[in-house]
Assembly symmetry: C2
């Protein structure tokens, strides 16, 4: 696959603005990056279609919606064979309160982010896992607070490769 045109400075500033405010008007966005609306719109569409912009989504307040407790969980499986891993991932996928799950390396196989309305609910959710056949070890890290939540730093100039790379 041949690489596409690299992003220029304007593209990168568009990404930066959209990361801060995903609902910014095209007009306003165009003004901020120093061009007019039509090419700005074309660039935004390009950035979406080439996958630089994965999604634009509302971030909700977990606590106001009744999820008082967040916990990170490290899981180590008994067996790391493919079937075991896929079975575990399928189990996780089916439980809505496990919001995110990453395959990792190091002294655990998965990292999970989990929410619950109360510590009691959380305890029960995690106990389910202790019961799964292939789970060897669970370490949990209740979140006391968020001390940083920053946007991805946008690099200076040449950022591009083919999405299929």
């Amino acid at each position: 696959m041949t690489d596409q045109q690299p992003l220029d400075d304007i593209d990168l500033r568009i990404l930066s603005e959209l990361q801060t405010d995903g609902r910014i008007r095209i007009n306003e966005l165009a003004a901020r990056v120093g061009i007019t609306a039509p090419p700005c719109l074309r660039r935004v569409r390009m950035l979406r279609s080439r996958g630089f912009i994965r999604a634009i989504r509302a971030t909700l307040d977990e606590r106001l919606l009744g999820y008082e407790v967040t916990t990170f969980v490290l899981i180590q499986l008994e067996s790391q064979n493919l079937a075991a891993i896929e079975a575990f991932e399928a189990a996780i996928a089916a439980i809505p309160r496990f919001l995110q799950c990453w395959r990792i390396s190091g002294d655990a196989d998965f990292m999970l982010k989990c929410v619950a309305p109360s510590v009691d609910d959380m305890r029960q959710q995690l106990l389910q896992f202790a019961g799964l056949p292939n789970v060897r070890k669970i370490r949990s890290y209740p979140v006391l607070g968020v001390s940083k939540d920053a946007a991805l730093p946008i690099p200076d100039a040449p950022a591009a490769r083919s999405p299929a790379a």
Copy 2:
């Protein structure tokens, strides 16, 4: 502070839609939740001002922007006194590639999410930390892949409390 009106079913569906597509048109959103645009717009503004919607942001593709490597890091400090913790948080805040940082409990004090262009860059970034005076222990978990990334499940009916609670 007195609690405000609880959210009704329409509000919750609005949240759900915006979590999926933060740039949805008010008309379209209104149609999906079964009302017309004006009240829908008022509800969205209410949900923003009361803090249920924290932000609407573009999610960018880290890899396409040159960050090939993501690592979670658990940090244990020597001292958990307030000054030490705040000093650590200030250090983290100053480094752009540490995207997120949570204060946690369990056998570590902080959980970090860190990105870098290469494993070599990542190693250098993490080595900086090994040198900090108050850091006792660092465990890192390179991300092999994302196996789940789901939206917050929206509860069924009564979700409301005062933002200052």
